[in-house]
Point group: C2
Chain length 378, copies 2
Amino acid sequence: MKFRLVAKDTCSEARTGQIETRHGVLETPAFMPVGTRASVRGLTADQIRQTGASILLVNLFHLWLRPGEDVIHALGGVSAFMGWNGPVLSDSGGYQILSLADSVKIREEGASFRSPYDGRAVFLSPEDVVRISADIDVDLAMVLDHLVSPLAKEEEVREALLRTLRWAKRSLDVYQEDRGLFGIVQGGIDPESRRFSARSLREMVGKDGQRFSGYGIGGLGIGESFSVRNHILKETIPELEPEKPRYLMGIGYPSDLLMGVLNGVDLFDCVLPSRNGRNGMAFTRSGKLVIRNARFLKDEGPLDPACSCRVCSQYSRAYIHHLFRSGEMLGPVLNTIHNLSFYMDLLSEARIHIRSGTLSEWATRQLSALDVPEGDQS
Amino acid sequence: MKFRLVAKDTCSEARTGQIETRHGVLETPAFMPVGTRASVRGLTADQIRQTGASILLVNLFHLWLRPGEDVIHALGGVSAFMGWNGPVLSDSGGYQILSLADSVKIREEGASFRSPYDGRAVFLSPEDVVRISADIDVDLAMVLDHLVSPLAKEEEVREALLRTLRWAKRSLDVYQEDRGLFGIVQGGIDPESRRFSARSLREMVGKDGQRFSGYGIGGLGIGESFSVRNHILKETIPELEPEKPRYLMGIGYPSDLLMGVLNGVDLFDCVLPSRNGRNGMAFTRSGKLVIRNARFLKDEGPLDPACSCRVCSQYSRAYIHHLFRSGEMLGPVLNTIHNLSFYMDLLSEARIHIRSGTLSEWATRQLSALDVPEGDQS
């Protein structure tokens, strides 16, 4: 994996660049659609490509349990397995340590889980994650981190942060440098812990001199407010080398993407455009739209008049409203295609404005039209 | 609507032709994917087109109740509403008279229903169906028929047959000849009743001299065996004018399509390729395949090695197996695309063999490899 910076904004930390992988080159800042189980819900690889996506996220933990890394390896790696054949990043299972907390036991060696598929006891170590990422042949792999809520007790956050660093070192030690490996910054909502975590990862060296290819900023988007989240970004990112990509994990709303870009983030992923799309919420340039609303019954217009995606050029709000009211699975599919296209377009425009030096003005105008994430209107 | 015969097979009743509609020309024999509520489950209009489909079926009864013919009319007709923009045939609601039997009352004037959507009492007459088909602007409309099981009591079948004929006459009387209108042959499994029904429709004239554009053969595929069904076709079709299209309603398996073609059928529809596809069953040139079967876990091959559809050229059995095991909606989508492509290819090949005079040999070879429909292995 190679990262090359192409342009830097003069009024913010924003930058645009290229990540070169064995499955192709992608431009940053980039948004990765979420294909947890090697599928972006309901979309074919062709449809994902048509949204403008250049890299996907899959979940190593889920694919390890089903269908198993041996199956994916035998099928030529996860990118070929999915019929995608482009760059893929794997999340590690750190999020599952939080989301499946009731059935997880953390030991220094790794994490013991009950499989959410069949209840069997399974064990995952940081070294396993590096090995499995090679087996399923992703382009970028995240290390196994110990994720806790940023609103957890200080001591708990601190313990998880230190364990994440020890696990990161063990991951580097077994890393073959055959693909990208990202360390993950933790530290809750405490700026000092975040800076410490970032510096530690930056300085970390594996036993054969290996270093991280880039950094995830993890443990956000799970309770803290929009402004706290942005404050953490501002405190963290200056501690990381500018020449390595930064990935804001699991975030967020369109306004989060803009703030992330302004703060120097290069990669994003989030389930929002697909999950909310499936539930009938469309993102538009003038805010959210709930397509089940009766006022769309006869609405001839597209989901977003300012959008040129396949869905907006072919289908009316009235039709998508009808699909949702009738429980037709095409409704979620069309909404997801539109939402992902919207996210891709937003970052595509951001890249253009970074190169042309007009980012701040453009981003401010966008932010004033977009919804601020729920739970923080302050 | 215009129908033009292009070629006739010398060894069977098979023929190939063209139906010209205001939304384009289609070649017969043709299979119509079922889009009951103006959507072929999970597939975009582009994906439907890519299967090779040239005409879709929608259900007038369902669309009348939801979103309502006024909505579809305001949106430019059902073909534009769906983003399909090609030919569309509407089924009338006759099948719902059977499938919703508990909440249906048949009077001479028409059928009273409880809406399956909200329970309100609704009434549909043969004249309503002709009017609604114009409102939603379909290319071919089926008259309202009174459908009973072909295995019902003789008297019941006879009564439904006669009512269907009286309703057909009333439909013709209000028919504007602005689109195709098909009468529907009924008569259960009694050849004499079927011949009588066919002759009556053939000779039927509306009050201003209107005649049917073609004929549905209805009331089959609901209990009778494969051989009885084919016997009925043989007895019925010779009673119909060769210069008008014949549509075998709601049938069936690939072997049913071949038998239908050999007996002179021009149009087919059936939920099987889409419904069974959603449930994990793939049609292939060497029989059915149940993709959830554990033996496909690592199978690198496509669903059908003899198929060149988008799914078979891009995805492995192992991947589709994984999608079904993981409950990913892309599994049903991919299976449906393949199954519909399989049906389209079968009829496309049939059309070629009719034109080249090699149909019988080809059809016999195909039939020996395909599954005979369930419930009749004799």
